[in-house]
């Protein structure tokens, strides 16, 4: 099968859906002629023109609000917030408006829109361009939260996101965008709320998200050589969350390590740990371990950033600790 990059998989998904719905548009600074801060929009501007691939001012609240207003009056949209670090600038619109209108107005208006963003570190972008806020988003009812780890998942989930009648926060990772993977030529969607077991194993379960899925897989390879068999579960969407697959895996392996790029403290790993400590408590044979960023802003130089962010060593150490 052909291999393409995340960013290209996303563009394909967007282009396919834009062809089907002339009231679907893309809006953000730099999405036009420039092709997107992460080169996701690429040639969409040439394909669909200025009105549907719209360069916007640097006005995060304005842009997101604009897509909300369009959503409740008959259009659909994808808005790009290129760095998730900028999302705090428009969390009000996302949380107080996009997530609430359907509930507040008793079903009179729903808000179909995709908020596409890229989170995460490992690219030496320093304190204000390396953050992960998926835990914030996943705390807000009315929003759905998507975090793909492969181009295949990215494309299928993006198509589902665009066709979802609700606001979907679609979280890419800066390290993933240029990464390649197999993507079929035919159209397909991946339903929300279905975790993917990226690797089967028997001794311990790793639940990992986004870029760290790849770290987890590599750690699993390394551990296999030492005779430890690790199962890697990728939830793919945090809301809705496929609890069943996670619980089943933990019931089988009886050990759980959770990995994400975000800070451990207050991260979504806590949610997963809490679910398992409640609903699979009787099956657990070891403490639940979390691996994520240490409690400090993400510094610039690699020598420091690599120390702060979770690495292979951290993951392998956590697994070894739980398998005892």
């Amino acid at each position: 099968m052909r291999e393409i990059m995340h960013r290209d998989a996303l563009r394909e998904a967007i282009a396919e859906e834009m062809r089907k719905d002339e009231h679907l548009f893309l809006m953000a600074y730099d999405v036009g002629k420039y092709g997107g801060e992460h080169r996701i929009s690429g040639n969409l501007y040439e394909m669909f023109g200025d009105l549907r691939v719209k360069d916007a001012p640097i006005s995060e609240q304005g842009i997101v609000g604009c897509c909300i207003g369009a959503a409740i009056t008959g259009c659909r949209s994808i808005v790009e917030i290129p760095f998730m670090d900028f999302m705090p600038l428009c969390m009000d619109m996302i949380v107080n408006q996009a997530a609430k209108l359907y509930h507040m107005f008793g079903g009179q208006m729903n808000v179909p829109m995709v908020i596409l963003t890229a989170a995460g570190g490992y690219i030496r972008a320093a304190q204000q361009h390396s953050q992960c806020f998926e835990a914030w988003v996943a705390h807000v009812p009315g929003l759905k939260t998507v975090m793909p780890s492969t181009p295949y998942d990215a494309k299928g989930l993006m198509k589902t996101a665009i066709n979802d009648p609700n606001p979907v926060v679609f979280i890419e990772h800066k390290k993933l965008l240029p990464m390649k993977g197999e993507v079929p030529e035919e159209e397909y969607e991946i339903p929300f709320g279905q975790a993917d077991i990226k690797r089967e194993g028997t001794d311990a379960t790793i639940v990992a998200t986004s870029y760290t899925v790849h770290l987890a897989l590599q750690a699993a390879d390394n551990l296999q050589k030492k005779g430890i068999s690790v199962e890697v579960v990728d939830p793919r969407t945090l809301v809705p969350l496929d609890k069943a697959t996670i619980l089943e895996s933990v019931k089988k392996t009886t050990k759980l390590v959770i990995v994400h790029d975000a800070h451990v403290t207050g991260g979504f790993g806590g949610e997963i740990a809490a679910i398992v400590a409640d609903e699979a408590f009787g099956y657990l044979d070891a403490p639940i371990k979390r691996v994520g960023a240490k409690w400090t802003p993400i510094p610039f130089p690699s020598v420091m950033e690599d120390y702060v962010l979770p690495g292979l060593d951290d993951i392998e150490a956590a697994v070894r600790e739980v398998v005892g």
């Binding site: 009231h23 548009f25 009105l51 549907r52 719209k54 916007a56 001012p57 006005s59 609240q61 304005g62 842009i63 997101v64 609000g65 604009c66 897509c67 909300i68 207003g69 369009a70 959503a71 409740i72 009056t73 008959g74 259009c75 009000d92 619109m93 107080n96 408006q97 209108l101 359907y102 509930h103 507040m104 107005f105 008793g106 079903g107 009179q108 208006m109 729903n110 179909p112 009812p141 009315g142 759905k144 009648p165 609700n166």
Partner: protein
């Protein structure tokens, strides 16, 4: 002041009726709320009736408005149904939002009322989005965004006007300038309060500073703006000076001087309109009394209707979190 005789008769009586409807609705709302018949908080539109009415008389049923925390007047002016409104204020299933949101989030999509909003200033980006959607869908609709002088100091005001201007959107921004931002005298935090309409210069669009107590002036100013918008000439900013009868919310303390309030109350939009109509022999005192009675009765019926409407079921709170 222009002679009312120059206006269409039917228009004059719609102006009058519109203002009376708001006045009686809100006087009653204030009374039943203070009597403890409703829960939560409520902000009434008393004194500012000429703005919503003057503006909305230029709109078609399929045009849109966005609103504020002080939204009853806007909804009535756009054609809101008293029963659905009181039902909502009483938190009953017969309310336009099924009783789940109350005064702060009253809305009726079927008449283009895109919702009262609890976040000061957030209506503006949503209005921009409705305008963008009109452009994309290629209709001739327009949007009126109502908001207070306090809201003009929010970043969203700036982002919205800039976007609407650059994208040439059919949005009319109407400032209800009562000089108060809750418990803050707006003049103390905004040097240009009197001439907020001049902020249009910052966006390269027309701006007006008008008497918001004169329904005719509001009507005619917004008429021009609506014509421009429908003709594809973009947005307008209209600053309407007005006076709010009550404190910020019902039951709130009032920081204004009592003498100032009484002085201001002597210039009432409705009373002065009645005097104009009488002077120009467009109405009789008897007809005035009848109109007051007729409309009060409609309000009373709505209150009775609401009182007798069923409360929502607790578990219905879980509905409308996500659209299917």
């Amino acid at each position: 002041m222009e002679s009312l005789k120059k206006l269409d008769k039917n228009l004059v009586s719609r102006m009058y009726e519109g203002m009376l409807k708001i006045r009686h609705f809100e006087e009653t709302q204030s009374r039943v709320f203070r009597a403890g018949e409703q829960e939560g908080f409520t902000h009434v539109y008393l004194g500012e009736e000429a703005i919503a009415v003057g503006a909305c008389l230029n709109l078609n049923p399929d045009d849109f408005i966005t609103s504020t925390h002080r939204g009853h007047g806007h909804m009535i002016a756009k054609g809101g149904d008293f029963k659905k409104m009181m039902g909502e204020l009483y938190g009953r299933t017969t309310g336009s939002c099924l009783g789940r949101s109350g005064s702060l989030h009253i809305a009726d999509r079927s008449i283009g009322m895109l919702g009262a909003n609890g976040i000061v200033g957030d209506g503006n980006p949503i209005a921009v989005g409705a305008g963008y959607s009109i452009l994309l869908r290629g209709t001739k609709q327009v949007v009126v965004s109502f908001f207070g002088d306090g809201a003009t100091n929010q970043g969203t005001f700036h982002e919205s006007l800039n976007m609407a201007a650059s994208f040439n959107l059919p949005v009319i921004f109407v400032i209800e300038n009562n000089g108060l931002s809750c418990g803050t005298i707006t003049a103390s935090v905004c040097k240009v309060l009197e001439n907020l309409g001049d902020r249009s210069v910052a966006y390269g669009i027309p701006g007006e500073n008008i008497d918001g107590m004169d329904v005719v002036e509001v009507y005619q100013t917004v008429e021009k703006a609506v014509d421009r918008a429908r003709a594809g000439q973009g947005p307008t900013l209209v600053n309407c000076k007005t006076f709010r009868h009550h404190g910020h919310f019902e039951g709130d303390i009032d920081i204004r001087d009592e003498a100032d309030i009484n002085e201001a109350l002597s210039h009432d939009a409705i009373k002065e309109f009645e005097e104009r109509m009488l002077k120009e022999c467009l109405i009789t005192q008897q007809k005035i009394d009848e109109e007051h009675k007729r409309i009060q009765q409609l309000v009373d019926e709505a209150v009775e209707f609401a009182r007798n409407s069923p409360l929502p079921k607790p578990e219905d709170a879980m509905k409308f979190v996500y659209a299917e």
